[in-house]
């Protein structure tokens, strides 16, 4: 009877159900496909017992009970629908609507609102209320991203609990009591942190809505595409909602293994740049110091001619390619294929501070963090660098895991003594530091390592062979020159033609990189905007952003994730893949067929790199360059998107602009 100690059997609507002991009735009911309405309860936030809409009838109990905070017990007989329950729910809904403005026609939640849905399903359809409703402020500016409608709030406190429990920010509070209660920040300051947008999804009603989406559409107008966020290395799963070819909002996808159902504000709100007027939409060629617009045919001819001439005159050492984390796996694979096909091994994905993105054989899965007893963070704060990874670490800390930050390797190892499993989360910047931690934890039995690289598809670029010393699938090859060495070569006149796709090296160590780029004979830059690097190019190719192309990416834990295009790209732009196909024709290089490419990507992505740890010498590319001026710009540059249009791309600017 050991089983009985952990499982209980009860009856829900006449169906016998066996669930683990301690399971809440609301969850137990889901196993027999009985939906119990909830407002304050949320699987990730737990019960709060505030709204009482989840009433159920339990035999033997005189009054209706709330399903969200009643654990299932052996022999319980539960009715989720009967006259008593229906009357109770109808009463609760009537009370919730007493002061509700019912302005559904102009409410951004209208059409996907739990209050609408439950009022239709369980409400009476009429009200005994004769007194006027209490009026409260509407359209309250809560912060840079969120608008609050105080009248619509049903005081479920999901937003408050998200801030306390999940994001650990503790900014939102419930002010006042009774009919006067309102949601506000405790200090009265604007509501601002990295994860604010999630409260708009948690709010069951239209009280908290996004400024960027306000009144732009109704949910039924939107064309929804599931895709992967590329703005950091986590690779959160999200929906891109598009109306008339304009991306109006992104919504999180419940994907417990990757993003756990959350999005950060960068991933959620940084979509305005797609229709920026400053986007480059035609190839630009520098003639006598100024850019002139040219056609794609001429662009390919010029690019091919420059490469052919450099190869003929100076040999393969005179050409090189940098392909940043904006590239999909397919594009990264083709770029290294092309470069290696002409005999050069001058290849790198690293444009700035990052040194390494693949943790090697010890690399853990994101879900493994949920079991870690100790988590050591090394380097830059993760809240900025890999926001949703930070949420998962907070989740582990809530569970009791020890978080160790800003410790020396020896201190960290001492603090972890006796704990297992252990997670090391390194930012991938300083190889010496990474190696030191690797060494300090060598004796521990269960260590999982993570590298939160600053660029979206950095690990994909590495797995596809965008490294001087590794080919696809981390196959060791005769090493060529990395980014730093290529820039040095350029200054010394050894490198003549450099193709930079989706990277902005000039944003880092501006003077040194600029000098190097200026010394080149021919620089090709594929970009969405006139970045620091593009401004120094000979040929600028207008590229497409991640919502505008399809392909795959690898996130920091090596999960192969799909990108599905949801937007029509502006006319005149091409995806980097198409650019590489055009160049291959110029160079007479045979490219793999679409099927072969797909097979190669899947095979190389699945290969687990073995034999190297954090800060491995084979990734080493010399000392790090000076950091760029703004932290968030580093991150944006990683995505390759619009580091140059601060108004539309950075949240910091959004705060000012709104």
């Amino acid at each position: 009877m050991a089983d009985n100690a952990v499982n209980v059997t009860l009856t829900i609507d006449g169906v016998p159900v066996t669930v683990p002991k301690g399971t809440l009735l609301v969850e137990a009911a889901k196993t027999v496909k009985q939906e119990i309405p909830v407002y304050c309860y949320h699987p990730k936030l737990g019960p709060a017992g505030l709204c009482r809409v989840c009433l159920v009838d339990i035999e033997g109990m005189p009054k209706l009970q709330i399903a969200c905070n009643t654990p299932a017990a052996d022999g319980m007989v539960v009715h989720t629908r009967n006259d008593k329950v229906d009357a109770g729910r109808a009463m609760i809904l009537e009370l919730l609507l007493v002061n509700h403005p019912l302005d559904c026609p102009i409410c951004d939640k209208g059409g996907e609102c739990d209050l609408q849905d439950y009022a239709m399903a369980y409400g009476r359809g009429s009200s005994d209320l004769v007194d006027p409703k209490t009026r409260k402020p509407k359209g309250v500016d809560l912060g840079p991203t969120i608008v609050l409608d105080e009248e619509r709030c049903v005081v479920c406190q999901r937003c408050v609990r998200f801030d306390d429990i999940i994001a650990d920010e503790r900014q939102l509070v419930l002010k006042d009591r009774g009919v006067r209660d309102i949601i506000a920040t405790s200090t009265g300051d604007p509501y601002r942190h990295n994860f604010t947008g999630n409260v708009t999804e948690l709010c069951p009603v239209g009280a908290l809505t996004s400024k960027t989406y306000r009144f732009k559409s109704r949910p039924w107008d939107l064309q929804r595409t599931q895709t992967t966020c590329t703005q950091c290395a986590v690779g959160c799963q999200m929906f891109s909602d598009v109306r008339y070819g304009v991306p109006l909002r992104t919504m999180s996808v419940e994907h417990d293994a990757i993003s756990d159902g959350w999005l950060c504000d960068r991933g959620r709100y940084n979509i305005g740049f797609y229709d920026s007027a400053e986007r480059i939409v035609q190839p630009l060629y520098r003639r006598n110091g100024t850019f002139v617009q040219i056609g794609w045919d001429d662009a390919f001819t010029l690019w091919g001619k420059a490469l052919r001439e450099a190869l003929r005159a100076r040999g393969p050492e005179a050409v090189g390619a940098i392909g940043g984390g904006r590239l999909t796996n397919e594009e990264a694979y083709l770029l290294q294929h092309l470069t290696r096909a002409v005999g050069s091994a001058n290849l790198d994905w690293r444009a700035g501070l990052a040194r390494q993105a693949t943790p090697g054989a010890k690399g853990g899965t994101l879900a493994a963090l949920d079991r870690a007893q100790a988590i050591v963070t090394i380097g830059e704060p993760l809240r900025e660098r890999a926001p949703v990874l930070w949420l998962r670490i907070l989740k582990a800390v809530r569970r009791g895991a020890r978080l160790i930050a800003a410790a020396t390797p020896a201190e960290a190892a001492a603090q972890c003594a006796g704990l297992a499993p252990i997670a090391l989360v390194w930012d991938g910047v300083d190889p010496a530091l990474g190696a030191a931690y690797d060494g300090a934890f060598a004796g521990f039995a269960e260590v999982a390592t993570f590298i939160a690289s600053e660029q979206g598809n950095a690990r994909g670029a590495e797995a596809m062979g965008m490294l001087p010393a590794f080919g696809p699938g981390y196959a060791a090859v005769a090493p060529g020159r990395g980014t730093r060495a290529m820039l040095e070569d350029a200054r010394a006149g050894r490198l003549r033609v450099l193709s930079i796709l989706g990277a902005n090296p000039a944003a880092y160590a501006p003077n040194a990189a600029a000098e190097a780029l200026d010394a080149l004979e021919f620089t090709v830059v594929s970009e969405l905007f006139m970045t620091e690097t593009a401004a120094r190019a000979t040929l600028v190719l207008p590229a497409r952003g991640p919502l505008e192309k399809s392909g795959t990416t690898l996130n920091l834990t090596g999960d192969l994730l799909p990108l599905h295009a949801s937007l029509q790209a502006p006319e005149g732009t091409l995806a980097d893949l198409e650019m590489l196909i055009g160049l291959a024709q110029q160079l007479d290089v045979e490219l793999p067929s679409a099927e072969d490419l797909e097979r190669a990507v899947i095979a190389h992505a699945a290969k687990l790199p073995t034999g190297f740890g954090l800060g491995d010498a084979r990734f080493d590319d010399g000392p790090s360059v000076a950091p760029p001026p703004h932290v968030h710009r580093t991150i944006f540059d990683g995505a390759g998107t619009a580091a140059h249009d601060p108004r539309l791309t950075s949240l910091r600017a959004l705060e000012v602009g709104v």
């Binding site: 302005d103 026609p105 102009i106 209208g110 509407k138 359209g139 400024k211 960027t212 306000r214 009144f215 732009k216 559409s217 109704r218 039924w220 107008d221 109306r243 008339y244 070819g245 304009v246 109006l248 305005g272 229709d275 920026s276 007027a277 108004r647 539309l648 600017a653 959004l654 000012v656 602009g657 709104v658």
Partner: protein, 198 residues
């Protein structure tokens, strides 16, 4: 000979019918100088009404467009600027278009509208040479600011008169005809967002 006489008889008989009609009441009318009286609830061209204070009734909620079985209505909402309120609440229709060629004049839009903003008038004379000019935007749908509130059927005891006597002035058909494509509508959303970003 006999046969020929028989034929003359038939001709006379036929002509007698023809001439007979000359003295009967005519079923046709001299349109357009004479116009027919419609049934009281005839469904014709749409009108977007105003409140007494001149504010637009339409709040850009898109309920009409989602109720429309012919998918003829496009609405893009926007927030009212505090210093330039188009409608009483927070939201108004930045864009409101009806493709009258798609419309089947069923009146579902009128039915769905929570503010009685969109109504079908008895006006039916919309003929034009270009398809594009059948897409009516706010410039032709909205009651002009100086022309009162517009007339809703439910506020008209005794039904609708045959001719309302006022046809919304057509500002420019070329303007209307110019590409009302999805791209064009997307431009509106983009422009709005640029305004938002600063």
């Amino acid at each position: 000979m006999r046969k020929r006489l028989y034929n003359v008889g038939a001709i006379l008989k036929g002509l007698s019918i023809t001439f007979g009609f000359m003295f009967r009441k005519r079923p046709t009318i001299e349109y357009p100088s004479v116009k027919k009286q419609h049934a009281p609830r005839f469904h014709g061209l749409h009108e977007l009404r105003r409140y007494g204070d001149g504010k637009e009734r339409c709040i850009g909620c898109e309920l009409c467009s989602s109720a429309c079985p012919a998918n003829a209505i496009t609405v893009i909402g926007a927030e009212n600027a505090p210093d330039d309120r188009k409608s009483p609440g927070e939201r108004h229709a930045a864009r409101y278009e009806i493709d009258e060629l798609r419309c089947i004049f069923c009146g579902m839009c009128e039915e769905a509208c929570p503010t009685d903003a969109i109504v079908l008038t008895p006006r039916f004379e919309m003929a034009d040479y270009r398809r594009g000019s059948f897409i009516y935007a706010k410039d032709r749908l909205l009651v002009p600011p100086d022309a009162g509130v517009g007339e809703a059927p439910d506020e008209r005891p005794g039904g609708i008169p045959g001719d309302l006597g006022r046809v919304a002035e057509i500002k420019s058909t070329t303007d209307v005809a110019r590409g009302f494509s999805a791209t064009h509508r997307g431009e509106i959303l983009k422009t709005q967002r640029r305004g938002l970003a600063g």
